[in-house]
């Protein structure tokens, strides 16, 4: 197959999502509920309004699939922001170029201090993040940071600006074993309106980045959309198709899908399509049934009570003890602006306790580098 996921996306250029979703009948939902394996239109049907009436049986099935594939285990990880310099002006982001915030880039030794602080909590999977600035956080700097933190963690993931295949090969050799990259929205027109400045305006380069990471033999590839930017059904659907395409063409990867939902941030962006909790749950469940083998992550953008309820519905990974400020762990930067506001401020131990209370095992290590 191969080629690019863009070719798959183009099939839906003229697809009338609104009409399909409006006309999805209860019988269509019931038929999808009975299937062992969902086709793409079954998946979309489960995102329709009529599917909300079947949320409980869908949730039961999602739970079964998750148990069979992942057991009663939730993997914990922590994000580590290394720089908030950014050349992009994404309208919704706290780090955007035009926001007047304290800009900071950690030195490699500071990154190591942050890593040491995170490692004290028992976390063994870390996710390095940076804004997009090739001048302030070039690939060479990111590579040094990966090398500096590798000794403290069994897995180092990256959530950074899109790179070339060669650059991903370099970071993989330095010790990065996973990529997280959200397309933000798969709607090309909406994407253009939200990302008019900077390198992020290149929709196609970003879209194909997870594929380049897979070709570069990154073990884990996580995709998703920032929910709330566009109509969630379309973005969740296309994120699912993106995941499926990656899984089918690069079966070696451990696929992950995340569900970041827009929360308050610095600036005056108004979320055009805020997602309710019910719609988030619907999205998560439908994704689980469509991609039974995909890891599903929920971050601390969501509050503790909701995160607790999402365990058992398909979630397999959670961030814990998170700080979204650069230098937020060991360097006293907690008063500075983070990329977004954390809704679950629980410590790692508190998150572990919460997971155990739900009858699941919190796991800090699930990889051997």
């Amino acid at each position: 197959m191969k080629g690019s996921f863009f070719d798959e996306l183009r099939r839906f250029d003229c697809f009338d999502f609104s009409s399909f979703l409006e006309n999805a009948r209860r019988q269509d939902v019931e038929r999808a509920l009975l299937k062992d394996s969902l086709g793409e239109l079954d998946f979309l049907t489960l995102l329709s309004r009529n599917a909300l009436g079947y949320l409980e049986p869908l949730a039961q099935k999602a739970r079964e699939y998750t148990l069979a594939n992942f057991g009663k285990v939730i993997l914990l990880y922590t994000p580590l922001y290394i720089s908030n310099y950014c050349d992009n002006d994404c309208l919704y982001c706290g780090f955007k170029y035009s926001n007047v915030i304290q800009r900071r880039k950690l030195s490699v030794s500071e990154v190591e201090r942050e890593a040491q602080e995170i490692a004290k909590s028992g976390i063994r999977h870390v996710l390095l993040l940076t804004g997009e600035s090739k001048e302030m956080s070039p690939v060479s700097y990111i590579q040094e940071c990966i090398q500096a933190v590798s000794r403290y963690f069994s897995s180092v993931g990256i959530e950074i600006y899109p790179l070339t295949e060669e650059e991903y090969v370099g970071l993989s050799a330095a010790g990065a074993d996973g990529l997280t990259l959200y397309q933000e929205t798969y709607d090309r027109d909406l994407y253009s309106s939200l990302h008019s400045r900077g390198p992020k305006s290149d929709y196609r380069f970003r879209l194909d980045a997870p594929q380049r990471a897979a070709v570069a033999r990154m073990r884990q590839v996580n995709v998703g959309a920032l929910l709330g930017l566009g109509e969630f059904q379309k973005d969740v659907f296309l994120a699912g198709l993106h995941g499926r395409w990656l899984q089918n063409n690069y079966p070696e990867i451990e696929l992950g899908i995340s569900f970041p939902r827009l929360q308050p941030h610095t600036g005056d962006f108004i979320c055009a399509h805020p997602l309710t909790d019910q719609e988030l749950v619907q999205s998560l469940i439908a994704m689980r049934l469509f991609l039974p083998r995909a890891g599903i992550a929920i971050s601390t953008r969501e509050n503790s009570a909701l995160r607790k309820n999402l365990i058992g519905l398909g979630v397999t990974r959670m961030s814990a003890g998170s700080r979204t400020q650069v230098g937020g762990y060991a360097l006293d930067a907690t008063k500075e602006e983070g990329q977004f506001e954390i809704a679950d401020t629980s410590s790692v131990d508190q998150v572990k306790k919460m997971i155990a209370q739900k009858g699941y095992q919190p796991v800090c290590k699930d990889w051997q580098a």
Partner: protein
């Protein structure tokens, strides 16, 4: 008559092997091991954290058990070999279940890469237990490469569909002198009994125990089913036939 399973000179009292992944807690996993009397347990190296005082899975495995580290996460022979060596250095011993899975959708193993890894690790003194798709030619290659057993899948991991590959597994049992240990896809104790009735040397179960409502009780049931299946096999259990057969055969009059 002593019917113990012998693998690479080791006498194994219980033909029920248990996987330790997917449990809700290490304590529960430990209780399931004890209640079933399992003497061989698999452990994914990716989960072994020797730096942690509280979260080290190895501390929850009873001392009388043989730990069979598995190379979960390996996508090719090189990765499996690397993981095996790390496992041994981490104190997991010489038993190694080779899992080379380049396909994360169905979790089916790569037989060719498994054979390559077996050749290398057997020479390094590992007791190699390769997890494979049931294939006679590959089983012969694995035997020649120094494998201590063959572990064919009953059905894809996590599906709980039972011994779907029974016809191919029967061929392996008939033709290969190594222990044939059915691994993956076993969803119920009756599946485990069936595998043993066919003549399998042992059965390995993980998902069906770890995700059961009562893992401790079901582990016990699996162990008993494996014993029952083994006794049935030794008693010469009558296997299903393709067609009806009268209880008085046509040539009975000649006696």
């Amino acid at each position: 008559m002593d019917d113990a399973l012998i693998i690479s000179g080791h006498k194994i009292d219980n033909r029920f092997f248990l996987g330790t992944g997917k449990f809700a807690s290490y304590k529960l996993m430990q209780e399931a091991i004890i209640s079933s009397g399992a003497r061989v347990v698999t452990v994914a190296l990716r989960r072994v954290d020797t730096q942690s005082a509280h979260d080290n899975i190895l501390k929850y495995i009873p001392k009388e058990c043989i730990i069979m580290a598995n190379t979960s996460g390996a996508r090719n022979a090189d990765e499996a070999i690397r993981i095996a060596r790390i496992a041994r250095a981490a104190g997991c011993g010489d038993w190694i279940k080779i899992e080379v899975i380049p396909d994360n959708k169905y979790l089916l193993p790569d037989n060719a890469q498994t054979i390559l890894a077996t050749e290398v690790l057997a020479k390094e003194g590992f007791i190699v237990m390769p997890y494979v798709n049931p294939d006679l030619a590959d089983a012969r290659r694995l035997s020649d490469a120094g494998a201590a057993s063959i572990m064919p899948l009953g059905a894809p991991i996590g599906t709980n569909k039972g011994v779907c590959m029974r016809e191919l597994i029967k061929i392996l049992i008939q033709e290969i002198s190594l222990p044939i240990i059915v691994d993956a896809g076993i969803g119920r104790p009756s599946h485990a009994a069936e595998a043993m009735e066919l003549g399998a040397s042992a059965v390995l179960v993980n998902t069906a125990v770890a995700t059961a409502e009562d893992p401790v009780l079901i582990a016990q049931a699996f162990s008993l089913a494996v014993k029952a299946g083994r006794i049935a096999y030794r008693a010469g259990v009558v296997l299903p036939k393709a067609q009806a057969e009268p209880s008085s055969p046509l040539t009975g009059f000649l006696r």
